[in-house]
């Protein structure tokens, strides 16, 4: 079968755009996993709630950027509260119990969204509607802007972790929780803040992604699965690896959808995950552990 070059190029761009959004979702997830050993099953629901809060703020104010910032902040706050009420009591227990608790949280949030917003998909209006010509397609600028924004947010996070005082606190907590506590870092609050930051990032990606497809109550499920794949393929708790893996997996899926139906192309990422787990369980994009 012959696949024209222009289609491959278009799919490359599409893959990178979804890859950047996925990277934003997954970097929140990997931050939470890497720092506190919590497998957050509710991450997709925070993504979905972010998109809904974005819809509401957009409807009230008409300003997309306000919606983006507002949704990030509000869902971040919600994430902090979820952490305080359900996850903090589980500190010191088997990490598996965090899967169970967050699975419960995801059921509650998903059905709450269904109850509040109904089953019909909502639409987020994109902030600008320009197009440019890409072969035979009118390619919207907005998609490229999303990729850029996602990269900017991830870059901001990286700079914060690397140079910010609180970022250094977070890294210290990752390395040695007890020692960090002994040095006067308020570890319980650092953990809460990390969960809130991760939730806020999920919400931001929800708002950014909203204009591409509709916003509905079940959208989180697909994304949390993909984000899990990315986090494992990239190496649990490894920010750079997650970003590389997100783009890698999205590109593969984009190319696969040229050959098979989009519904089947997700199998490609499943297979990547299983191969990774079998042959390189520490992650594809991390140096070989000595």
């Amino acid at each position: 079968m012959e696949i024209p070059l222009d289609q491959i190029l278009i799919q490359t761009i599409n893959g990178i755009v979804t890859g950047m959004i996925l990277a934003l979702v997954a970097s929140g997830l990997t931050l939470i996993f890497g720092i506190m050993d919590v497998v957050n099953f509710a991450h997709g629901e925070l993504f979905m709630l972010g998109a809904y809060v974005g819809v509401l703020i957009l409807a009230a104010s008409g300003n997309f950027w306000l919606a983006l910032v507002g949704a990030t902040f509000l869902v971040g706050l919600l994430g902090g509260m979820v952490y305080l009420t359900t996850l903090r009591p589980l500190i010191g227990r088997d990490p598996l119990t965090t899967i169970l608790a967050t699975f419960g949280v995801s059921l509650v949030l998903q059905n709450y969204a269904l109850w509040q917003f109904g089953p019909v998909a909502r639409k987020i209006q994109e902030p600008f509607t320009g197009h440019f010509t890409l072969f035979y397609l009118e390619y919207p600028y907005y998609r490229l802007v999303i990729a850029g924004l996602a990269a900017a947010i991830i870059g901001g996070l990286w700079l914060f972790l690397k140079y910010g005082t609180y970022g250094i606190w977070i890294r210290a907590t990752t390395q040695d929780r007890v020692m960090a506590q002994a040095m006067g870092i308020p570890v319980p609050w650092v953990l809460t803040a990390v969960f809130a930051i991760g939730s806020g990032m999920a919400a931001a990606s929800g708002v950014l992604f909203g204009p591409l497809v509709g916003v509905n109550y079940a959208m989180g499920t697909d994304w949390v699965l993909k984000a899990f794949i990315v986090v494992v393929v990239g190496g649990m708790g490894n920010l750079g690896g997650s970003i590389a893996a997100a783009i890698f997996v999205s590109l593969l899926e984009a190319y696969a959808s040229l050959v098979v139906s989009p519904a089947q192309s997700v199998i490609v990422s499943f297979v990547v995950l299983i191969l990774t787990l079998l042959f390189r369980p520490t992650g594809l994009f991390v140096p070989t552990p000595k």
Partner: protein
């Protein structure tokens, strides 16, 4: 273990089975059906307890085994005339066992959350395959078929009515329970429990841990497939929704609510969950998962042993 406590256990067992036998004769149709469903979901949850409770591996992929049992039964019931119950069982169990062997081979190399995530992803693979292979599985619409008769060739053949179907399900679930109980108390079951307690030490003693885990996953998968066959016979349809990972999540919920490592606990958990769902859906319709989810979170935090956790030692004698 004194003789008296063993006596109490078997007395309790007999009373409960007797109540379940009488139930379809006195209960109204709705609750009769409800009870049969509890038994089927209970069997599924019990099969998963072999992994969660006894081997210490949390599987988020039981919907795949359940679903394959269901579609295996569907294949048998649609391809043979007249539909045969035993063929449906055979097809369903073989399908589930095949999938379980495949999943087990890969997933048992991993531990803890990685095992959970891998089984989850495997079940999603089968979900996508079943969902998109429209020609064979009917895709989103699923398959409809007729219920087979309860027959032994050359001896008798009676069509299922609600009561006989209930008794049939009860017989299968009870036999499965006794078999699984026997297995967990056997030397094999003891090795599984020692893997749960200390995997490194079990390996050091000389047990081939990986092989034991593969057999455990397959055993668990076969009984999950059996539950799938029963569900297909009871409801006369197979649908991809049952392969979706949320079903696996519910199975884990049954286990946690009821108490892992007890075999009976998961059945009690299933009953409790389905009753809650029934109760809340009366006035919350489809939003029943909000209160049920909250109760589940509270139980994970405050009652990690589950409803029957207090009786765990006693039930395993």
């Amino acid at each position: 273990m004194t003789q008296r406590r063993l006596l109490v256990y078997w007395a309790g067992f007999t009373v409960i089975i007797a109540l379940l036998i009488v139930a379809p004769l006195v209960l109204p149709e709705f609750w009769r059906r409800f009870l049969t469903e509890i038994l089927i979901w209970g069997l599924l949850a019990m099969s998963s307890d072999i992994l969660i409770g006894y081997t210490g591996m949390v599987s988020f992929g039981h919907s795949a085994f359940f679903g394959l049992g269901m579609y295996g039964a569907a294949a048998a019931l649609l391809s043979t005339r007249p539909p045969s119950l035993w063929l449906a069982l055979a097809y369903g169990l073989v399908a589930a066992a095949g999938v379980a062997a495949f999943v087990a081979y890969f997933s048992t190399r991993l531990r803890d959350i990685y095992f959970a995530i891998t089984t989850l992803i495997f079940s999603q693979i089968f979900y996508v395959i079943i969902f998109t292979a429209t020609a064979w599985t009917g895709g989103e619409n699923g398959l409809n078929f007729r219920r087979p008769a309860l027959a032994i060739a050359g001896l008798f053949s009676v069509p299922f009515d609600p009561a006989t179907l209930h008794w049939f399900v009860l017989a299968v679930v009870t036999a499965s329970y006794l078999l699984l109980r026997r297995i967990t108390q056997s030397p094999f079951g003891m090795v599984l429990q020692s893997i749960r307690e200390n995997e490194a030490r079990t390996r050091a003693i000389g047990y081939p841990v990986e092989r034991y885990k593969i057999v455990a996953v397959m055993l668990s998968g076969v009984f999950a497939g059996l539950a799938g066959v029963l569900y297909a016979i009871q409801n006369q349809f197979a649908a991809p929704d049952f392969v979706f990972f949320l079903v696996s999540g519910e199975v884990v919920i049954y286990n946690v609510i009821g108490g892992i490592g007890t075999l009976v606990g998961p059945i009690v958990g299933a009953a409790f969950f389905l009753l809650l769902r029934e109760g809340f859906s009366r006035f919350l319709t489809e939003y029943y998962l909000i209160p049920v989810g909250l109760i589940f979170i509270a139980m994970v935090i405050f009652l990690p042993q589950g409803l029957l956790g207090f009786a765990r030692r006693w039930l395993n004698r």
